[in-house]
């Protein structure tokens, strides 16, 4: 019910909607608007390099931050 009301208001203002693409008007910090491009096509035989890189980098960035912070603290607070 409230979503219908929100949709109606947004249509009235003709303003880009904050929130996710499917947010139907829920206010958001970020814009997740459609790129307006062709949908991703299913690609046969795609390797898993992207997923492996994600696996490494998600934790890796925390690890790297740790090394960087350690060096920084040693240098600044001798």
């Amino acid at each position: 019910m409230w979503l219908d009301e929100r949709r109606r208001r947004q249509a009235q203002f003709s303003i880009p909607v904050a929130g996710t693409m499917k947010s139907k008007g829920f206010p958001s910090q970020r814009e997740y608007l459609p790129l307006g491009r062709e949908p991703i096509k299913l690609r046969k035989g795609e390797n898993d390099m992207g997923e492996l890189l994600f696996t490494i980098f998600y934790g890796g960035i925390i690890l790297l931050s740790g090394i960087m912070t350690a060096v920084f603290i040693r240098k600044v607070y001798k």
């Binding site: 409230w2 303003i15 929130g19 910090q29 997740y32 997923e51 696996t55 740790g66 350690a70």
Partner: protein, 530 residues
Amino acid sequence: MIYTIGAIVSFIIYSAVGLIVSKKVKNVEDYYVSGRNASTLLIVGSLVASYLSTVAFMGDAAFSYDGYALPLLIMSIFVLPGYIIGVMFFGRFLRRSKALTLPEYFGQRFNSSTVRVVAAVTLVIGITAYLVAVTQGAGLLFSEITGINYTLSLVIITLIYTLITFSAGAKGVLVTDTIMFLVFTVATFLTIPYILKAAGGLPEAMIKTGQLKSMPDMLKWHGITGEAAYMGSPSDVLLWAIIIGIVWGFVIAVSPWQTSRYLMAKNEHVALRSSIISTIILALIYLTLHLTMLTVNTINPSIDPSERVFIWSAMNLAPTWIGVIAVSGILAAGLSSSSTFLQLIGNSISKDLLRNTKMSDDKLLKISRIMIVVVAAISLTITLFQPPAIFWISVFAATLFAASWGPVAFASVLWKKVTKTGALWSILAGCVGVLATEILKLMGLLNLPVYLNSAVFGGICSFAALIIGSLLTTPTKEEIEYREKLLILPEEEKDPKEIKQTKMYPKLLVISGIVIMSITFIFYYLPVYS
């Protein structure tokens, strides 16, 4: 009904805590910066609570449920270092300034009341719009849970966070933020195992998710493919994740609702430690929450609106008592951001825009409290009537700070040639760059893919204006001396005990990085690709 009772009980607790803490507010420093003696726990609580609002548990959760958890997590890779970089190159120097507000810092650093006023105006406009958006989110959620009408929900939500902020200022906001942070963090980690269990347990939940024919490739790094996909080609998705991630990294590093917490820290060590712990907590919440939201598709693929996915899961897949904590936790996430925003706006109006050096501390405290109520009333009115301009600004209010404040904030510490002219032009150019891009988009004169965020254009304008403005002028003696003073490590920060303790924290980051990498490898990569 039980959820309504849970929400109301939590509201009563937060209000009571605010009133109790208010008795400890003795002066302006207590009200504005919590007496500058906050512990690591309080700063972590407030940093995370003011960053995560209802959006994280609703908007972001929906994005994951819709098939884009991996792009969101790739984006986080670029967001998370914002805490560390922000505190190293801006936050700890901000704390050294002993300012009460961020615009006051900019004013002191550049010895310019104009810079201070312009910074304060951008803060008031940007955060008011953001406050409106977050209040609406919490109001909608409360209305849906309790069944009471939307208007009354907004009034109740506004009253709660106004009461906390009005009575206890920064002290109350820090304590309630921390309680709220604990509530939603506990709720998240209590709910996730039940959702995964309902989806078949690990690793089956991930395997089933990866094999869902209705949403193919959901576990691929670029998110779902096929007809339902709306994020464009894989390279578009990657560009989106990197650019929006960097923009949000800047938001974490320089936005008022994050960096103002460092003004409240007991010392620089607390600021550094807090940023490290916040990085770890956000990384863990994001990884576990968003991968879990993907698996809900195997249990119920038709939750509509998808923003309800975490709430639906907590209410239907977890025991009732956990559901109550989860729903109260999401409301808490909204309330904590709102109270921080209200405090920042009220303080900036009182201290930076209505400032009067002859004003006594007691009078300033009184005026600050009055302004909190006035701002809350204005915000509520805007929220109820939702003028298009404000609603429009709220779409990009957060990233506005990345563009207009980012270059100035870092340059104020790192670049000796920066001048007040450069700073002023930079803040204004950043704002104009973002607003102009958004206006052109609104008028249909500019059609950009989403990864070219308006903050990117604003940031480029701001950076260029900073360089040109500073190179055309010369820093004054006062500016040079103030910066040199900022760069001197205060004696109280040289305490060997504190330094020894601070040196332990990077090890925590390294260990967490290895643990997170192992979790991702074992529970995400191996089940799907081995």
